[in-house]
Amino acid sequence: MKKRTKVVLHLAVFVIVFVGSALVRIALLGGAPERLIRVKWNDSVGTVYANQEYENTNGHKYDLYIPSGLDESQNQYLILFIHGGSFNSGAKEDGDAWCKYYATKGYITATVDYTLQAHGQEASIYLMNSEIESAVKAIKEQAEALGYRIAGMAPCGVSAGGTLAMNLAYNGNSEIPVKFVFQLAAPTYFAPSEWSLLMRVDKLKTEDEFCAMMTGKTMTDYSWEIQKISPACIVSADSVPSLIGYGLIDHCVPLSQKYYLMNAYDKYGVPYDYIGFPKSNHGMYNDLDKLQLFLDKSLEYADRYFKP
């Protein structure tokens, strides 16, 4: 074999193996959180009612998970997962492992689709909030039709889904009483100066364009509107207990975001727990011990706040 052919061959092998190795590492590391919550699931564990309709103009649906053996004569409780994805991506299926995990703990669970930004439709936070509220109403009605009375719920979510979970929890518009909320890595305050990365992703040139997209409104001063869609600004003395987790090397959600929220909790005396993920970026894959702590804590919250 000629020397030049050998070099080309070795280079090709190097590139292929390098890319393959990088992809395997990303898949293994990135999938670690989901492996932590994965549970065995079959018909004896529970039933999935997939693609259930709820009132919205864009044809979004939700999936409902009913654990086996629930007592119809007792109050039941719902954990609603809201997927993340920078408000412009993701799907309800992202919550499948979360829903199955909490369903095996005895809770009715659900995961919901909502209108996404940058897909050619108007998709303000207001619209997303109202869609989630409609989904909750539909879930309540469907659970009743199946014979279950849902007496309380806990919305939860990751990233953008965490924001929507908090909005539902704090704005008082939920058809099912919200008992607590838990979220990972959620944006809490939409001052445009904090969101240059999201603006670049969504190809927005000005802060006004960002505000218009988030609020669905055109105006000269967005400060009040931004507060109305920001969880940190709608926290009040009546807000429900909250469990939050943030990566300490998050490159997507500014590190300041968690402080806006915790300052509001402290100001209004809202009970909360904060778990820091010291080695994690936005995906929370590098601190599985902290994720386990977060999951255990969420179940503690359910024990404490779902009981009458």
Binding site: K6, S21, C252
Partner: protein
Amino acid sequence: MKKKDFIALVIVIAVAIILGAVCGKLLLDNLI
């Protein structure tokens, strides 16, 4: 394939695996 070529190929693969794994983690730590 000569023994020398085989050893060279093994080294190339080993280095690619290690560098790929390191770069994969770096990418994850800095992107998402």
